[in-house]
């Protein structure tokens, strides 16, 4: 019989014997650890751990036993290793959506795209080509509060574990974000820090930058802030027009988002404060 596999994530203050004691709990349950990574952040003496193990487990009991060997205030997550259920939010640009739909169709995403929600209908037909649900939730004539309530109403039907902003161009309110803590992944059109304000590629062009980048990150309060998961770059030069820079930006965006999601969906990314710890 194929045993289920679990991923255990821990974030707590460091203290002596943590690894020994945690692995002891797993070991005494007769479970088999298949991977184990820890990291101690020495500025704040913080301990991070990712462990995968296989075997039959009473999850509640297991969590209780693990918490017993951890310091107070520890954050723990125990999840069976399985495909995530996700919902994508989009506006008009297709490059990230297209990349994710193709990966999804050929089962390379480690996730099920339950639905795509757009605030425009531009990508409806395209999404349907892949046999995926599309919901138009227009913001026209709605307050931000009303629009987000409408979004939440659709999202709730699917119970997604993650929301992916695949070039969703509306700011989300702190209230909305707070309902999905460390569960929203965004792709940002540049490095962070970066050119702020409108037309970032126009600004990059004017400044004569030699590199175009993208940043995939969790969304906390601010759309363009939050813990960074992946940053990538592609070199450009003076022969690139603003349009060429935009196209290059799209390529690096879609690759960066896909790489970030792969790691997030495999439970390899821990968030602490405004940083990520990635056990890749």
């Amino acid at each position: 019989m194929n045993q289920p596999t679990y991923v255990l994530l821990i974030d707590c203050p460091d203290r002596t014997g943590l690894v020994h004691n945690i692995t002891g709990v797993i070991y005494r349950q007769g479970l088999n650890i298949t991977a184990n990574q820890e990291f101690v952040e020495h500025e704040q003496e913080r301990f991070f751990m990712r462990t995968t193990f296989s075997g039959a487990v009473d999850e509640t009991l297991m969590l209780k036993k693990i918490r017993k060997v951890l310091p107070p205030g520890a954050w723990v997550r125990l999840t069976p290793k399985r495909r995530k259920k996700i919902v994508l939010l989009v506006t008009k640009e297709q490059h990230c959506l297209g990349d994710l739909l193709v990966r999804h169709q050929f089962d390379e995403l480690n996730a099920d795209i339950a639905a795509v929600i757009g605030n425009h209908d531009t990508l409806e037909k395209f999404t349907h080509q892949f046999g995926v649900n599309f919901h138009l939730v227009s913001h026209e004539g709605l307050s931000r509060e009303q629009h987000e309530a409408a979004l939440q109403e659709v999202i709730r039907r699917y119970h997604p574990e993650y929301l992916v902003l695949a070039k969703y161009m509306r700011i989300l309110s702190p209230e909305f974000v707070a309902q999905h803590p460390n569960r929203i992944v965004n792709i940002h059109h540049s490095f962070l820090p970066a050119f702020v304000g409108a037309s970032p590629y126009r600004q990059a062009y004017e400044r004569g930058v030699k590199i175009i980048g993208a940043t995939a990150h969790f969304v906390n309060n601010d759309l363009d802030e939050g813990p960074i998961i992946v940053q990538n770059v592609i070199p450009v030069d003076h022969t690139y027009s603003v349009r060429d820079m935009i196209q290059t930006g799209k390529d690096v965006e879609k690759i960066s988002l896909a790489r970030a999601l792969k790691m997030v969906f495999e439970d390899k990314v821990l968030v602490h404060g405004n940083k990520t710890i990635i056990f890749d």
Copy 2:
């Protein structure tokens, strides 16, 4: 007999027939064009050209003939292809200086380092190991005006074609910079735009960036602004301490500065406004 080689650089408004007319001037002098690159910037309809040719030339006459076929307001530079004479300014960090001194000693820099000027004596002995002049021009007890006057006094003795700020950590005044237009190359500890203010690597660490970069650029008014010549990056992750990030930053700084200088000293870099056109 080995013929001298010349580099001709042109920056002017675009108009029909420019390439034909310019190459015609060279052609009719019986000179042999060995490389030729042009670029038209279509937003401002600006024409840029770099041509190398070999043969005996009356430089003044040649320039006069070329100007005749160019629109008014054209910028032209005609220089024999030869090693540049340069002066380095440093403070206390050795990584860029060391890299340049080693390249210089083995004749890989296409330039002669006439002298190194430091506002501290930290690198004096190190510079002397390479048989290169070192001048201490301390800023202690001097106004910025007085310090820069002292710098200029030393610089003037060497008639350098370029000043290289190899981790020179003092701000230069607009007056100083104006005396060396597009002749000062600086290496900046990050991308531009970037974390501003003190301790940029501390800020980068706090923000959890996944990439460390460096920017080599000409200095115009502001120390950390000016036309970008080279930008490079090296990936980092959560296991990097602030110290590791600083070390990584040094590696990417020295490589970026050396690449930028190579192109500048081969007259491959044109400056227009706040951008560079690089004919590499």
Copy 3:
């Protein structure tokens, strides 16, 4: 009225006055040069040039005039700047095909995909999702000669300017290739030179490589040889399984192929012997 734009490509022995004479021909026709790049390869004293100009042109006359100012044995191509018509060949893997179909649907490819031909039907439904023709040309029970004759029969219906091997896993005969000189672009699963023989990723894994790459190139005689257009890499490490390496390889393959095609379809790639000259 919007004037047509032309791309002129030249490859010939170098000699004095070429740029002047060629641009003179264009200039005297009252045409406006919008971009111009030359490159002289000094080992063989070979001259390469790419010029774009706009205006109404008698193509045959123009070519005749240009040939007059070139040395004997010159290769010249004059083409209106327009979207290319292409046919893709595939087998079972979808990552490159998917990337190209998405770009095509949103008009980012500078080409029309007239049809996709597969030697398996695996990707038929997927191709149809994008409204693109799919032809199954199975090799089952056919000699290579017969199979290629069947392919040619389908290809000929579309008069494509380029064939793109988007993970087409059959060797093409020299006879087939010779009918499309410098008109077939392939994506290779590694650098060249590289691990040869079966299971290259298995070999790369065994060898513990730290970088995975891909090469987009023209096909001449041999499937995995021919002038290189683009090479890209993504770093890997010891935590990558063979499967992870394969996935990484797919990502770098699709990006590399798309970048190569963009440059080829904009007539920016010249082939000389076994090398490319790229005027990007």
Copy 4:
């Protein structure tokens, strides 16, 4: 009082409870684990671990206790965290040597360069500039056996922990290599696999490659084989002459060697068969 820090490296067949049992040994000695990384290679079910801890330790006793909880045939190394003592071997090229000597002088190498040995005297004066011993051990008129005996005689005086081949251009015999198992680091002028035989850059140029790389690796039997530690690349294009490619190759060589040495000298690199496991 500042406690000493130790690095424990383990390579053994995987089995249940290893992490728990190993950390238990450390924990019961009252030692403080400051970092811990494990990796299980699933093809061969092999377990790798790197643990750093601080505290006063009886090394022999500690090793004995650890071996008790490991399967038979385990490889274990326990070393105090300290600067390594190294000897460099060079021939005529200075770029790697120069980079290492500058880092050494400013204490960035985590190692002491006890001596440099050259089979030519080209770099003697340069080495002396940095106050480092240089030994000329010419191979002229000697058999390989005699030359290596002479090398060993000089090396033995210094008791180095690592030999670094900083562009040492002679093949070492299997007998020589066997005396320094996994203790010789070499920098190779290309990827592996790569162009073999003489003039690799000439071959790369003829082939029109778009990327130049370098590989830092341990030397086992064959000079250009052995477990890969670091591979890096820098893009090139058709404008690069053979000479430009050589210069680019040097830059990527020196950076790659320095990065590899940093990880090796911090005991972050485990060797298993022909692969490395890097706990970075």
